[in-house]
Structures are given as C-alpha cells and as structure tokens.
C-alpha cells in the first residue's frame, strides 16, 4: 500500500479514535458519574470477564444465527416477490397496498401476535426479523425488474424464452448487482430487528446480544452494557464489509 493511501485510509479511523479519546477524557475528568458512564478500563474488564464466562460468545452466536436464518427466508422471498411485482402489473396491484401499509408500521407491532402463536422462541424472532428484512430487498427488486433494458426483453422473446426462462435468465441475473444495496439493507434490518426483539422480552434460551444488554441494564452494570454494545458495533461492521465483498464478487461483469 502506498503511503498516500494509508493517509487517506486513516480518515476512516479517526472518528473512532476521537470517540475513544473523548470517552477516556469524560471518565478521567469525571464529567459523568462512572456508575452511569463507565471508563474504558471497566468496560474492557467487563468484556474480558464476559468472554471468559462464555455468555458473550454464546449470545453473539445466538444473535448471528437468528440474523442468518431471517436472511435465508427474507432475501429469496423478497427477491422473487419483488421481481414478480416489478414484472407483472397484476401482481403489483394485488400486493402493493398491503405491503405499503405493513412497511409503514413498526414490525415489532406484529411481534405480540407471533408471541401468542410461537411463544418466546427462535421462530418468533426469526419471523419478525424476516418480515423487516423482506422490505429491504422487496423495493429494490421491484425497481430492478422495472429497469430491465427493454431490448433485452425483446431479445429473450426473439429467442422464444418463456416466462420461466425470462425470470431465471433475464430478471434474476439483471437483479444480482441491482439489488445488492437492498441485500445490504436487509442485513441491517434483520440485525436491528433481532436485537430489538431480544430486548423486547426475554430471549429464547436466555441468549442473544439484545437480551444480554437489557439484562445488564436491569442489573445496573454499565461496564457490561458498554461491552455488549461494542460487540454489537463490531458485528455490524463485519456485516457491512461482508456485504460489500459479496457485491463485488457477484457483479464481475460490470467494468
């Protein structure tokens, strides 16, 4: 890496370093009481002991698994339904009002209903997070199907492609890079919804980052709350980078 690249890359890191510096300053000069805002050292100690106990790792794994499960439902469903809606006007008209209304309200409103059916369970959390993530891909998928080059559609028909073939050989590959931003959004939405649902009621098995955070807040352990928050942030970062990488791999045919 060239030095100039290193320098320009450093700009990405400076805000984080600033936050740490301010954090340390706030606690060193006791600007906020330490039992409300814990010093870095306390946070780090909590982090180490939480990792040693195994709670943090167990919860991280539980949350990650729920996010992945939601995405496995939400992305294929959102892509297929969205492409169909963008392609066929009748399907669009049939579904759009329902989706618009559901999209507009907090998804957690449905969580209560899910709890009646499935109780506090992975199923409830995964379903509510899938619902949220679904909208992340749905709207980009609709837009992607609508923006297919009309000449390419003509070509497909010129070679007698049927609806199924148009769907799989034109709409799907055309969507791959067009909905990458939607997939990224879905990842974030699923993550947000899983953590929120975990916080909303006890998490199944007593594991989950959201739940853990809630627990330490109730038991008044700000160091532990901060430690969990840092893990949440770190995982969020990993998610975004993974999504960017996947997008690059999937659209090799662009320049």
């Amino acid at each position: 890496m060239k030095p100039s690249k290193l320098v320009s890359g450093a700009w990405y890191l400076i805000p984080f370093i600033l936050i740490l510096v301010i954090w340390e300053a706030v606690t060193t000069f006791s600007l906020l009481p330490p039992d409300i805002f814990p010093p870095l050292t306390t946070t780090f100690a909590s982090f180490v002991s939480l990792v040693a106990e195994g709670t943090l790792v167990g919860s991280l794994i539980a949350t990650v698994e729920r996010v992945i499960a939601s995405l496995l439902i939400a992305i294929p469903l959102g892509v297929v339904v969205g492409l169909l809606m963008g392609w066929k006007g009748s399907i669009f008209r049939f579904l759009i009002l329902i989706f618009t209304v559901v999209f507009a309200i907090p998804k957690l409103a449905f969580y209560g209903i899910l709890l009646f059916f499935f109780g506090v369970s992975d199923t409830s959390i995964v379903l509510i997070a899938s619902l949220s993530a679904f909208f992340g891909v749905l709207f980009p998928a609709i837009a992607s199907a609508r923006s297919v080059d009309s000449t390419l559609m003509k070509v497909a028909k010129d070679y007698d492609a049927g609806d199924m073939q148009i769907f799989f050989k034109v709409l799907i590959p055309n969507a791959v890079s067009g909905i990458a931003s939607g997939v990224k959004l879905a990842l974030t939405l699923a993550y947000i919804e899983v953590v929120t649902a975990e916080m909303f009621r006890a998490a199944p098995g007593g594991v989950g980052l959201g739940w853990l955070m809630q627990l330490y807040a109730i038991y008044d352990q700000p160091g532990a709350v901060m430690a969990v928050l840092l893990v949440l942030l770190a995982f969020g970062g990993v998610v975004v980078f993974a999504a960017d990488y996947a997008e690059g791999k999937l659209s090799m045919w662009r320049k």
Binding site: L152, K154, V155, K157, D158, Y159, A161, R254
Partner: protein
C-alpha cells in the same frame, strides 16, 4: 428458409403529445422470396425498425397481415433479429450470449459452446469468447449479436442496421462475409441500412420506403450475379442503381422538408 408476405400492413402509434393516432406505416405490401436478400432503405424515422419488429413478431400491425410461406422445418425458429441498438446480455460472456437461442430451446451447454466457436470465428472474434460485453467496442458487440442470430439458425434473418457502429474497414470485411454466409446458408434476409453502397452490394432486391408514414416507394432489382466481389462497385450496373437510389432518397428528404 421461408418467404415472407407482408399484406396491406399499416401501423399507428398513439401520440401522447397530440392525443391522436400517429400513422407510421401506411398500407405496405411486399413479398420476399425464399432465400432472397432484400435491403430496406428509407430516411431516418420513416418506420424501418417498426416494420422489422412487426415481421419479427415484436409489434402487431394495426391493419393487415404478415405471413410466412415455404417453412421447411416447422420446429425451427421463424425469425431472429439483430437489433439496431446494443442487445447483448451484459452478464453473459460472448460465448454464452452466442448460445442463448439454442440454450433456451434446451441444448447441452457444453456441446453448444463448441459449436458457438464456429460462429465466433465467422464474425472474426476468436479470442474474445470469454470477454464480457462491457469490454467490447460497439462494432464487436454487434458482431456477437450477428453470431447469436446465425447460431439460432432461423428461417428468416432480420437485420436492423447491424453495421451502423462498425468502423469502415471492418464493415467492408463484414459485408463480404455476410454475402458469403448468405450464399452458403441461403437464408432469407431482410436488411435495413442507411448505407446505399452496402444495400446494393448485398441485395437481390432493394426496397425504398417513403418518409413517414412509410409506403413502398420503389422496388429495385439488383441484377448483378453472385458471387460478387468488392470491385463490382465501379461497374455500370452498380453505379446506375446507386444513382437511382440516391435520387429516390433525396426526394423523400425533400418531401419531409429536410432541405431548405
């Protein structure tokens, strides 16, 4: 291979600016014989692409009918079009674009790729089979589109200004290749172009359309035997036809008010 009969065909579009029907094609009739190569000329915007789209089944005539005769292989494709604008699937490599047609009808991809190489060589693109369209020039893309149409082996080949974005030297090579391909495959071909020289060089007959709404203005037989070579351009027959076509097109430009 097959003949095409265009019978009293008219086409109108609804014009949203004037809220009126805009007539593009006005009562056009002509026949293309089996194995024949017909060039279609006409001023820009007169309706050449629209006519080709109707023959290819992409647009429906407002009036009249289009039919095919002498269809030899009822299972083969009736028509394939080389479109005027860029038409390659950007996510498919050159070779996978070329096999698109037979892949749709259910061929074995591996075997098709072997066969596709013939057509890629034919249009002078060997070495580019694994390139994505975004790495090709406009002219190269158009040659891939030609290979794709030929690979599908339709009864009638429809070409809409296929060489418009090809440079002059490559264009000359492509013209001679197309002439040879036509002689060998005897594929009925309708070829739209603005290039009078190319139209005559390739065609058995020329059809000149009038300015919008398009009518058949003139049909000219090109009584020059085949095989043809580049130097026939200086022959008397060629020059005579060239003069006639030029005069005819200038009349249409004047009629459309494009000369002052």
């Amino acid at each position: 291979m097959a003949g095409v009969r265009v019978d009293n065909v008219s086409k109108s579009f609804f014009d949203f600016k004037t809220h009126a029907e805009l007539k593009i094609i006005d009562n056009v009739s002509f026949d293309v014989k089996d194995k024949e190569f017909v060039s279609i000329l006409g001023v820009s915007g007169c309706g050449k692409s629209t006519l080709l789209y109707m023959i290819g089944g992409h647009e429906r005539p407002t009036h009249g009918t289009i039919s095919f005769s002498d269809v030899k292989d009822s299972k083969a494709h009736l028509t394939n079009t080389v479109f005027q604008e860029a038409s390659l699937f950007p996510w498919r490599k050159v070779i996978d674009n070329v096999i698109f047609g037979p892949e749709i009808t259910g061929g074995n991809k591996k075997e098709l790729r072997t066969k596709a190489m013939e057509f890629i060589n034919l249009v002078g693109l060997s070495g580019f089979e694994s390139a994505y369209p975004s790495h090709l020039s406009g002219g190269m893309k158009q040659r891939v589109a030609i290979a794709r149409a030929l690979m599908n082996n339709p009864e009638v080949l429809l070409m809409d200004e296929p060489f418009a974005s090809v440079d002059a030297q490559t264009r000359m090579i492509m013209q001679e290749q197309l002439l040879r391909i036509h002689q060998k495959s005897e594929k009925t071909t309708l070829f739209v172009t603005h290039n009078i020289d190319e139209a005559i060089f390739l065609a058995d007959r020329l059809m000149i359309l009038s300015a919008r709404p398009a009518k058949v203005k003139e049909i000219i037989e090109v009584n020059i035997g085949k095989p043809r070579t580049w130097d026939l351009r200086s022959s008397k027959e060629f020059v005579d036809i060239y003069g006639r076509v030029l005069k005819s097109l200038r009349e249409e430009l004047e009629r459309a008010g494009l000369f002052h």
